[in-house]
């Protein structure tokens, strides 16, 4: 048994043994779980994928004369200003009013909230425009200024739902191509798309949220951040396999982090043909090896993780009726082709495994160098703890 404080002590002294969730698999096979748990202090995880339900809070310094910005646009993308005078929230999926959307189906959605977030982090100049009705204390009614992230007083990503524990795998049983948030899906099960880092993914390496809770210190978009809250739609009691791996989405995280520390290599605006815009987010979470069970959970492999294969065709997912047509594991999905109902179907990821590896490696280096310490959760997530935890 190790405590957070003991592990942090080792990190500060530069003596912590840190490996990635990919490396730990071979180590545990070689020396056994017991010995590996004794030797290893931290296992780092990583994921880089499209995460809707992302966005950023921004505070612009007060203008002269002062203004209570009622309506705000950043590069023509509306941000929500109904918070205070110079605060706003920019959502990743917001679109500029000039976007033709799907009136030219399928729309290409070249620019939106996710792109503005990426541009700000990349240090690019963007146009801030605001309108107001004017008050005695905030008389200014209109404002326009080109700004960069440096000119913004505070900027932080605060995403209500990121880092899904597991996720649907998508195909299309219909007769026509569909353009979805799971990508372009060809008719008659022409392809299969999945979106998870599998064995490297944070919540699959701590399936019962024993260490990932409110206050966990994380890698977010190239900077340091925290788990702020259980994510929206967090569903910890969904069915699981014998290893504790949920068979569907299950857990989610609300995350927070300073945009000024972030790196545009790890946070990218995306255009999904026929669907809209969103944000690709890089998240890495360190798992403290508190005991043998923790180590065991981090040895999860792609073949141990099943995901539901869903029909995203017009008669399936969009109707709101059950649409699961099968189950596939990530070893099958990552191979590039699966055999399903007698048909060979090509598979492709929407999340980047190479970036996930890079994130887990970067976080490992941060911890080894002593610049990043573990944050003990001040409270566990709902459903967090042991396998025999109970639903309230």
């Amino acid at each position: 048994m190790k405590s957070y404080e003991e592990i942090n002590e080792k990190i500060r002294a530069g003596r912590a043994v840190v490996v990635t969730a990919e490396e730990v698999i071979a180590i545990a096979k070689d020396i056994g779980v017991k010995e590996a748990a004794r030797k290893i202090d931290v296992v780092t995880t990583g994921t880089f994928g499209i995460m809707c339900s992302s966005g950023a809070f921004l505070n612009f310094w007060h203008t002269k004369p002062k203004m209570k910005m009622q309506r705000v646009w950043l590069d023509d993308v509306p941000a929500y200003g109904g918070i205070a005078a110079v605060d706003c929230y920019l959502g990743a999926t917001e679109l500029p009013s000039y976007d033709p959307c799907n009136s030219h189906y399928p729309g290409s959605f070249r620019h939106g909230g996710g792109h503005v977030i990426e541009d700000l982090i990349a240090g690019k100049e963007i146009k801030l425009r605001a309108e107001a009705y004017g008050t005695d204390c905030y008389p200014l009614r209109s404002y326009e200024q080109n700004i960069t992230l440096k000119d913004v007083r505070e900027a932080f990503i605060f995403s209500p739902r990121n880092c899904y524990q597991n996720y649907n795998v998508a195909t299309n049983c219909g007769a026509e191509t569909v353009y979805t948030y799971m990508g372009v899906l060809k008719p008659h099960m022409g392809n299969i798309h999945y979106s998870s880092a599998g064995q490297l993914s944070p919540l699959l390496n701590d399936p019962y949220y024993r260490s990932i809770g409110i206050g966990t210190h994380i890698f977010l978009g190239g900077g340091e951040g925290f788990v702020a809250w259980p994510g929206t739609q967090h569903a910890p009691f969904d069915p699981r396999n014998e290893r504790g791996i949920p068979l569907g989405g299950a857990g989610t995280l609300a995350v927070i982090g300073d945009m000024k520390q972030m790196d545009a290599r790890f946070i990218r605006g995306v255009s999904l043909t026929g669907y809209g815009v969103s944000l690709m987010v890089g998240i890495g979470i360190p798992i403290p090896i508190l005991d043998e069970d923790m180590l065991y959970y981090t040895t999860v492999e792609d073949a141990d993780i099943q995901a539901p294969l869903c029909d995203y065709g017009k008669e399936g997912y969009p109707t709101g009726e059950p649409c699961v047509i099968g189950s596939l594991n990530y070893a099958e999905l990552k191979s590039g082709e699966v055999d399903f109902q007698g048909k060979k179907i090509r598979t492709a990821p929407l999340s980047s495994y190479t970036k996930a590896v890079e994130i887990a490696e970067t976080l490992k280096q941060w911890i080894v160098s002593g610049r990043f310490q573990l944050g003990q959760p001040s409270q566990l997530l709902p459903g967090g703890g042991s396998p025999d935890r109970k639903e309230d």
């Binding site: 070249r110 392809n191 255009s271």
Partner: protein, 139 residues
Amino acid sequence: MTKNMISKNVILRFSPEVVGEPIVYLLVKEFDLVPNIIKASVNPDKQGYILLSLTGEEENYKASLKRLEELGISVQCLMERIKWHEEICTQCGACTAVCPSLALSIRRPEMAIRFDSDKCVACQMCIQACPVNAVTLDL
């Protein structure tokens, strides 16, 4: 002897002087190629283009290009115009299962994206599928 069969997407651009030439007929008759017209347009000035795929023996395909150029028709091989910008790519893979010719594929086990322009048929599915616009058609 096995013949090397190929399939290429090309754009033929022609001036008013050659708009009357039965180009597609010529490709079939003289070079035994199978043309499949994907898109074509002739503007009021009688300048136009045909975007078509040509399937046949490589030797014949090459000879046909020569003949078309002699007629004053500019030929652009579309595959050479599809560009994969590695520095923009996030290495996600969303382009790989929709690519019919495996020109965009994943190198395993590291799961890195690679682009083999020789295999590209310029169908442009990847342009629709890529979330970060890392694939472009530069004409």
